[in-house]
């Protein structure tokens, strides 16, 4: 039982990080129809910039804030400089553009931060809390708490504020949204900025647990994409559920089956799901219109 509880804790912790990554994918996909392969780099930036600002003597909250700012700027620049000029391009072209951005950001991070691995100091203490024989790191509580706050904040944003409702309108029907006077370009910018912020928070939360390096974004980003697809692309609730399911599956596989194949679990899972449910677990079942 203690063993199971241990795997449960680590699964929910990494699942929360995947959920935040998946939400970043979902927000951009909803607003613009673009799958942003640079989402993982926002997570990397969140971790790396926090580490280096903290090392430069900044207090932790300000270091994290700085990292979020950097990632938001990266998101805005990406949208303005690369996505907007290619708005009418095909899916493959847009995918290549975001992959180009991802390589570019990695390159800059490698030049600025070097190739080493870094860990951020845990937000509050390192003494594990023992529950039912399993130990829970205080940092995991931070991950869970902040992730829950972010999800609640996003819910408020999409249901209670004008920019949030505008974004939902754009995702439902772009032409209709334009006709009622919604500024599409500003909506896209907001989506990229918001995803940058989400990614950076996830990266800063995870950095004390998983270590971070200039190339840490690739796998995290891909798993975020898996989580977003698992739940059904574009569904916010689906992204959160997808992330948690992935984290749990991964932790249970690592614990009970094989830790070497832990990284393969998300991809096997998504293939199986797509074989039987081509639109993810919670995607719409609507037929395609011709």
């Amino acid at each position: 039982m203690a063993e199971f509880l241990q795997f449960l804790f680590s699964g929910v912790t990494s699942g929360s990080i995947y959920a935040l990554a998946a939400l970043g994918f979902a927000i951009i996909f909803n607003a613009s129809g673009v799958i942003n392969f640079a989402q993982g780099e926002f997570i990397m930036l969140g971790g790396m910039v926090s580490v280096f600002l903290a090392a430069a003597g900044l207090a932790l909250p300000f270091a994290v804030l700085g990292a979020v700012l950097v990632a938001v700027v990266a998101g805005l620049v990406l949208e303005k400089a690369a996505i907007e000029p290619a708005r009418s391009a095909e899916t493959v072209t847009l995918i290549i553009i975001t992959i180009g951005a991802s390589i570019l950001i990695q390159g800059v991070a490698q030049i600025v931060f070097g190739k080493g691995q870094h860990a951020l100091r845990p937000f509050s203490g390192e003494a594990p809390i023992v529950i039912g024989g399993a130990s829970l790191l205080p940092q995991s509580l931070w991950v869970l708490g902040v992730s829950a706050l972010m999800v609640a904040g996003l819910w408020l944003f999409f249901n209670r504020t004008l920019p949030g409702k505008a974004m939902l309108a754009v995702s439902a029907n772009r032409l209709g949204a334009e006709l009622v006077g919604i500024d599409i370009r500003r909506t896209w910018l907001t989506a990229f900025g918001l995803s940058g912020a989400l990614g950076a928070v996830a990266g800063a939360l995870a950095a004390p647990i998983t270590m971070t390096s200039y190339d840490a974004g690739l796998m995290l980003g891909l798993k975020g994409f898996v989580a977003a697809t698992l739940g059904g692309l574009g569904s916010g609730l689906g992204a959160v559920a997808g992330g948690l399911i992935l984290g749990l599956l991964e932790a249970m596989t690592a614990g009970y089956v094989s830790s070497a194949y832990k990284d393969a679990v998300p991809f096997v899972a998504i293939l199986l799901v797509l074989f039987f449910l081509p639109r993810g677990l919670f995607g719409s079942r609507a037929a395609e219109r011709v």
């Binding site: 990695q106 393969a264 998504i270």
Partner: protein, 311 residues
């Protein structure tokens, strides 16, 4: 629809090239271009003509590379049999997954092919007993009926013949009824189905052909370089292949070769700028896609050759 002028011209160019190249280093770069181009031609059939995204093609490249490495050294297969075994294996796997995967559309298809590629690369990395794990393994020399190519020049002709055959095969395929069917389903799948095109079968077929070509390319790479690492099957390598196809020009066989050339030369040329090569590579990728979303060869062909954008 005569493709023979192009193919003859390509054959003459391939035959003349080694005499125009001054040193072995350049010939080595050209050989690597040729190996990549074989895989990219296949991938371009799937992406350019049939309009299906594949982000896991390096997985098939890895199957070929490791079939040649593992079957020859651990099981004593002759290299040619190992190469054929790799192609058969890649083709069989592609055939098995083609129907469920190619049923998906857009980003779901991208996700599934990406997942397939990553699973293959993780298996190759983890099964260290066969593959040598993350450190990779050496590969025996290629030998066919006593002849074993050595040196860049001999290898050049082996690769050139394979590349020409791949271009010939792709050209024939595009001009065949199957090519028409693929373009029809690229335009609109329901429309193609409604006029009697068995879209699932054609998509599966072209996927298998592309997988077999990627496996051939992987086997050639393994024997040519003499060493393989799991890097050959990685996600980044899949992305490189896709980038070559898209930057060179989708639905263009000449574009596949041009894209392979550009993206093989570029990292080598940028390698001396320590760290900046990634920045430059990423920036260039964005720039080409924003300015020429149709890719280099179709864009240039349109500009200089009027409407005859065929290559």
């Amino acid at each position: 629809m005569a493709r023979w002028p192009w193919l003859t011209g390509f054959a003459l160019l391939l035959a003349a090239l080694p005499w125009a190249v001054p040193n072995a280093y350049l010939l080595d770069v050209i050989n690597r271009i040729g190996i990549n181009a074989i895989a990219v031609i296949g991938l371009n059939l799937v992406m350019g003509y049939a309009g299906q995204v594949s982000l896991g093609h390096a997985g098939f490249f890895g199957i070929g590379a490791y079939a040649s490495a593992v079957l020859t050294s651990r099981y004593g297969w002759p290299p040619l049999a190992a190469l054929a075994g790799g192609m058969a294996g890649a083709g069989a796997l592609a055939f098995a997954v083609a129907r469920p995967i190619l049923r998906l559309k857009g980003h779901y298809l991208a996700m599934a092919t990406l997942g397939l590629g990553i699973i293959l690369s993780i298996v190759i990395t983890n099964e260290a007993g066969f593959t040598g794990g993350p450190d990779g393994m050496p590969v025996d020399a290629l030998s066919v009926a006593g002849f074993s190519p050595s040196g860049e020049r001999q290898w050049y002709f082996v690769i050139a013949v394979c590349l020409w055959c791949a271009a010939w095969l792709a050209g024939n395929l595009v001009d065949s009824p199957m090519g028409r069917a693929l373009r029809a389903l690229h335009g609109s799948e329901p429309a193609a189905r409604s006029v009697g095109v068995d879209t699932a079968r054609y998509k599966a077929r072209v996927f298998v052909i592309a997988a077999v070509l990627a496996s051939l390319s992987g086997s050639l790479f393994a024997h040519y370089v003499g060493f393989v690492t799991p890097q050959v099957a990685s996600f980044m390598h899949s992305i490189e292949l896709v980038t070559m196809a898209v930057v060179g020009g989708l639905a263009s066989i000449g574009g596949s070769v041009a894209g392979a050339a550009l993206l093989t030369v570029l990292p080598q040329a940028l390698a001396e700028f320590e760290g900046w090569e990634m920045v430059a590579f990423g920036a260039l990728l964005i720039l080409v896609m924003v300015l020429m979303p149709r890719g280099l060869v179709p864009t240039l062909a349109r500009r200089f050759g009027g409407a005859r954008a065929r290559a």
